[in-house]
């Protein structure tokens, strides 16, 4: 699947399907600090992402 990451904006390829929590853990990203979005829709922690999905992992933490 294609995964769009932010700060800085970049795209990575992840092979195979994953549950959201597993993908975040694999990338070392906090569940509490990120949302996973597919086609403009939120995907919950146990939601399954298909091998051909395009997903965005959006950080939610602001420093202001």
């Amino acid at each position: 699947m294609k995964v769009l990451l932010r700060q800085p904006t970049r795209e990575i390829e992840v092979q195979g399907r994953r549950r959201v929590h597993a993908l975040l853990a694999e990338l070392g990203l906090s569940r509490e600090a990120h949302l996973v979005i597919r086609n403009g829709t939120l995907v919950p922690g146990d939601g399954e992402l298909a091998a051909d999905d395009v997903v965005e992992i959006r950080p939610v933490i602001s420093g202001g």
């Binding site: 904006t9 403009g40 922690g45 146990d46 939610v60 602001s62 420093g63």
Partner: protein
């Protein structure tokens, strides 16, 4: 994963509530949390003239949207701080949000209106950028509210913001800051009332509100905030939250319920009439110009400092 309320497929899991929600019932939860914060702390009256401090980020657009959802009328104020492309983009998001909903958005541009920008002011005054930025925003929001006849300034501070500030204040046992760390600051001495209706919503929840509502906010973080202490505290608290869901809310809400009343009682505010800044007329704690006018004075006419001066060498 099913919605706790309707058993339809959920779109978000909220471990601190030990529950999952669909789009409709997640929005219901957010509205109820904001309604509760407003009611518990008597933040807003139905006839109040409300000014929302708008940055173009998720929290300020979420709070503006939620207030409208709950039937309040509110205008926005965007302050362009001269932080390069970041300010340009954040201003576009704020303007688009307002235009699409036919809302009033006032704009202050610190470079055009006051002759400085945040990177230059930080260098000129020796302040860290977030300090120069915060000082400027507080002053300009207060001033715009008073001059515009608004009763109250609403900010988008969320649970994570408040928990992180509380954590920092507690680490230093800064009793004076702890005493003032309330979701409502009453109007005093020429300053408008300031309220934080999002204190019962986490940062992940305000971002999720924007996603499910289709709010196009600026996702990128301010380039000058990277690496600041506040972000470090948030990171620590989020690690704790993952181990122990609800820890952030227990920390902050427990402070409000059980610690804050003791601090207020022990250090009653003395009713002093503040001096007026001879330059801008704003209330100030000192005899001379206020902190904002001193910052402007030291920054004006300086060679502009680019944002890259602060971000060079980072990834």
């Amino acid at each position: 994963m099913k919605c706790r309320t309707c058993r339809e497929p959920a779109v978000i899991d909220l471990p601190r509530h030990n529950a999952n929600f669909c789009v409709e019932h997640f929005q219901q939860l957010c509205r109820r949390q904001v309604e509760k914060a407003i009611a518990d702390h008597r933040m807003l009256g139905r006839d109040d003239r409300i000014l929302v401090a708008v940055s173009g980020g998720k929290d300020s657009l979420a709070v503006w949207d939620l207030l409208l959802e709950l039937g309040y009328r509110a205008d926005g104020l965007y302050v362009s701080l001269g932080i390069g492309d970041y300010s340009e983009e954040s201003g576009e998001h704020a303007r688009r949000f307002a235009a699409e909903r036919d809302l009033v958005l006032k704009v202050v541009d610190v470079r055009a209106d006051h002759g400085f920008d945040v990177p230059t002011a930080a260098r000129a005054t020796g302040r860290v950028p977030c300090s120069a930025c915060g000082l400027s925003k507080r002053h300009l929001f207060d001033r715009a509210a008073i001059e515009g006849g608004y009763d109250v300034v609403v900010t988008g501070h969320n649970l994570d913001d408040e928990a992180a500030v509380l954590f920092g204040n507690t680490l230093r046992w800064d009793v004076e800051y702890l005493r003032r760390q309330l979701p409502v600051l009453p109007a005093t001495n020429g300053f408008p009332r300031k309220v934080k209706p999002l204190v019962r919503l986490s940062e992940r929840e305000t971002a999720a509100w924007c996603v499910v509502r289709g709010i196009d906010y600026l996702v990128e973080e301010c380039p000058m905030a990277a690496g600041n202490k506040h972000l470090g505290y948030k990171d620590l608290l989020n690690r704790l939250e993952e181990e122990s869901p609800g820890a952030k809310a227990a920390f902050y809400m427990g402070f409000l319920d059980r610690m804050s009343p003791l601090l207020v009682d022990s250090t009653a505010e003395t009713a002093t009439v503040p001096a007026r800044c001879p330059s801008c007329g704003s209330p100030t704690g000192s005899d001379g110009p206020c902190a904002f006018c001193r910052l402007v004075e030291r920054s004006k006419g300086r060679e502009p400092v680019p944002v890259e001066f602060y971000t060079r060498g980072r990834r």
